[in-house]
């Protein structure tokens, strides 16, 4: 089946330097017209389709509307809001009008929005509704280049009458007027584009410093999508659910780079809370999500398991045992004996089919994970269900990904082989470097960083890794994150953290031990799961800090850590831990917007806790202030216990 797809794909236009995203979009829209659904959005409880014809018309009017508002070649248009058709139309409209698209994370705080809008010289912001408009208005006076704020959801907008505001409908009306005046303008604008033009200006989430603006050309984006689709072809009848932020390059890769070339249908959930349910309704064929999404799915299964009746728990245990065994045989590239195949079939029919359906994975051909490290436990879990989960490795600077697992050749500690047209090498220092047509143009207004990262066409990733005996690429943590114990033994904190996070009771973990004599951990409990557990144990509590400090909760967490420690060498076991009084949060700068831990920052912020972990103290007093998203502050005074983990 996949062979046939491959042939169909090869018959498509080659990616040349002349081709741009708008040109491809235009030809696809003309090809599919009113016959095929380009995207669906669930609204008011119903999936509403938009054909390629609708897609084209909307994009055309937005593009011309932006032109009549004064958009010129190379001007930046920033988008902020949930995943919705209007967001994508605005992006495509910007590209068609020869502008440059910038996406912001919807939950960005004011100073982040201000930094990006100001640094990128954004001329127009397309926000979803009141919340985004509020953010934009409050930074307006600090960003002199910002001309108009466009909004599309009228909810709560009744009292806004500032001159700088304009609704998307109004923009489209202006576009229609301009179209009447100059009927060929849209096609002319698209025709002027060149593959080397800048298409997107994307800000990296930055675990260490201020975000950097990555300039990506049309050619970068299109070659990236083509090369991934050569490895794992999709069909134009496939479905894809777009629910992760468009500000993440992975979502751009799936929705634009791959989506446009293949022509599969994009589906937008009703709201962020309903995305899991909506994924189940659609049953996508392809999926790409950072590990946290898969971790969340695992957690859901584990929690439901704890709640289930005896018979269901037993069935699940037996099915998992079979699933794990078969998955391990596959990982080991061993033949599966026929009786195991029969057992696997039973496990599939009785348990896994249903479970996969609940997770929305029933039709998934390829599920990808990338963006951060994923623990082997999670990885094995999905393969035991029969989900073809693959690791990929990439970064914003290569417009998405450069390395991916191939079918039937999956090792959970590697990220696979480079995609076509992509060369990956390891420098003498062990740094991973990449050369491909998708390597970015440079950082915006930052020649020093560009010179450091781009050398002779090679992209220096800053990641450490090696190539193993099967020619698979193995990525260590970020160079700075490989830690060394005092006695010289190296360890990867992220690996330990993902291991700890396999427990449904642990939401986040932070492993410490660089230049220390042992390894310790700071744990953030999962409030919902442990809260429920506490209810069944009849433990009373009023808040997160109180629950986290209960001795019974400490016992539970200690048990989880001992389980995680079980197969680890003596020296890299977690021997002490503390339950933090709050969850780690991107709003407090503790995580990046893609939920990666900012080690340096938390190290400084929780210095007292770290010091206490490496002293003989059995507790630490906390007296601090926390700031909420809206600027309110609360004072927190609490004592945290420190617990030693008993050996197994």
């Amino acid at each position: 089946m996949q062979q046939g797809n491959k042939a169909a794909f090869k018959a498509m236009d080659k990616i040349t330097k002349e081709l741009t995203i708008p040109k491809l979009f235009y030809s696809q829209a003309k090809k599919y017209g009113k016959e095929r659904v380009a995207m669906r959005e669930k609204e008011f409880g119903i999936w509403r389709p938009f054909t390629w014809h609708d897609y084209l018309e909307n994009v055309k009017h937005i593009a011309l509307g932006l032109v009549s508002l004064g958009l010129e070649e190379g001007d930046k248009v920033a988008m902020i809001g949930d995943n919705r058709p209007e967001g994508l139309w605005a992006e495509m409209g910007t590209l068609c009008a020869r502008g440059v698209g910038v996406w912001l994370f919807q939950d960005s705080l004011m100073n982040e929005v201000k930094y990006i809008i100001d640094h990128s010289d954004t001329k127009f912001i397309v926000g979803e509704g009141q919340e985004e408009v509020d953010k934009a208005i409050s930074i307006l006076h600090e960003c002199p280049k910002l001309k108009k704020i466009i909004w599309d959801d009228p909810k709560g907008m009744r009292n806004y009458d500032q001159d700088c505001l304009i609704s998307l409908k109004e923009v489209m009306r202006l576009g229609r007027e301009l179209e009447k005046e100059k009927p060929d303008l849209f096609e002319e604008l698209i025709g002027k584009g060149h593959g080397d033009d800048v298409a997107l200006l994307f800000y990296t989430s930055g675990t260490t410093a201020l975000p950097k603006g990555v300039l990506l050309s049309h050619y970068n984006m299109l070659t990236m999508g083509k090369n991934l689709m050569t490895v794992d072809p999709c069909k134009d009848t496939d479905d894809y659910v777009s629910y992760l932020p468009f500000a993440w390059i992975g979502e751009q890769m799936m929705s634009i780079s791959c989506g446009l070339q293949i022509g599969y249908t994009l589906n937008f959930p009703e709201s962020s809370e309903t995305s899991q349910e909506n994924i189940r309704e659609i049953g996508p064929h392809v999926m790409f999500a950072p590990p946290r999404m898969y971790e969340q799915m695992t957690r859901t299964v584990q929690v439901k398991y704890l709640d289930a009746a005896w018979i269901k728990r037993k069935s699940f245990e037996i099915a998992s045992w079979i699933g794990y065994h078969v998955a391990d045989l596959k990982f080991g590239k061993k033949a599966i004996p026929f009786y195991w195949k029969i057992l696997e079939w039973f496990a599939h029919i009785l348990v896994q089919k249903k479970l996969k359906d609940h997770l929305g994975l029933s039709r998934v051909r390829n599920a990808y994970t990338g963006g951060a490290a994923m623990g082997p436990d999670h990885f094995r879990f999905f393969h035991s269900l029969g989900v073809n989960l693959k690791q990929i490795y990439g970064q914003t600077e290569v417009a998405g990904i450069s390395v991916v697992h191939r079918n039937g050749d999956i090792k959970f500690d590697t990220v696979g082989h480079p995609i076509p047209e992509t060369e990956v090498k390891i420098t003498e220092e062990g740094e991973i470097i990449t050369k491909s047509p998708s390597v970015f143009l440079g950082y915006y207004k930052n020649p020093e960083a560009t010179a450091k990262t781009l050398q002779d066409g090679w992209l220096f990733s800053g990641d450490r890794g090696f190539i193993d005996e099967d020619k698979h690429i193995v990525v260590f943590d970020r160079t700075k994150d490989v830690m060394i114990l005092k006695d010289g033994k190296p360890f990867a904190p992220q690996y330990l953290e993902t291991r700890l996070k396999f427990s449904p009771y642990i939401k986040d973990s932070w492993v410490i031990g660089d230049q220390r004599d042992c390894i310790t951990a700071v744990i953030c409990i999962d409030y919902a799961v442990i809260g429920k557990w506490a209810d069944t144990k009849k433990l009373t509590y009023t808040s997160y800090p109180e629950l986290a400090q209960k001795p019974e909760v400490y016992d539970l967490i200690e048990e989880q850590i001992r389980k995680a420690n079980k197969d680890l060498p003596e020296l890299v076991k977690v021997i002490k831990f503390v339950n933090l009084y709050k969850e780690l949060d991107a709003d407090d700068d503790e995580l990046t917007r893609t939920r990666k831990l900012r080690r340096e920052f938390v190290g400084k912020k929780y210095e007292d806790i770290v010091n206490a972990l490496y002293s003989n103290a059995d507790g630490v007093h906390i007296d601090t202030t926390i700031t909420y998203e809206d600027g309110r502050k609360t004072h927190i005074k609490t004592d945290l216990h420190i617990r030693k983990v008993k050996p197994f």
Partner: protein, 273 residues
Amino acid sequence: MSVSTDIKPGDVLLELDGLWMSFGKVCALDGISAKIKKGEIHSVIGPNGAGKTVMMNCISGLYHPQKGSIYYRGEKINHLKPHERATRGIARTFQKVEVFGGMTVLDNIRLGRHIHYKSGVLSGSLYLGKTAREEIEHRKFIEEEIIDLLEIEHIRHKPVGMLPYGLQKRVELGRAIALEPELLILDEPLAGLNLEEVEDMARFILDINQEKRWKITCLLVEHDMGVVMDLSDNVYVLNFGNMIVDGPPEEIQKNPEVIKAYLGEEDLYATRK
């Protein structure tokens, strides 16, 4: 007073005239009078046991005052049963949520549409063309106007009893506005909610009061002074069955009697939260 069909914003929608009600020897309402104008948010505040809920129950028809009259759109409605008052456009929510726990969110809200259904039991059970079309119209209304407004898409098929308290309160509000009332009585809509939920609820109240689609007059009983002073056009202060003062929030905050009777009593206020 004449029965009026054409009431413009600013005209009196509901009038209470000398309401008096006692339970045994306890006098809950001691001849209170009030005028609620169309389009406003009129709050009723007062310490515990001041008679606020009794006043609301009298308006919605749950209690019948021993003396005094209630006029709605100029019509005396003392004798009307609660469901008759509902068909005239009076809806309410309760201090302690009164939802049907075993039914889904959607069904609870559908129930609020009951008075707008035209088809009867027989056509309903046969579910023929006209009835089916009517059902779809109602569903459309619920989805587009209520579920979207209250942001409860993610729970529409969940049984209400399984939901956290804050969401149950939201569902109850949804059911009340499904009646498309002209006057909505909100009995402590914010009690027991956390900060975020309070903010959401306050926003919804403003929305249904101001949004062109709704323009519902709200009679709000609430203890959260911050919200009351922020939202209300007028505040009615009740103390042990008597009205102390009725006026705009700025006036109320300055009134010495109010401060003595209510606002000054920090402790009492605090225990309610």
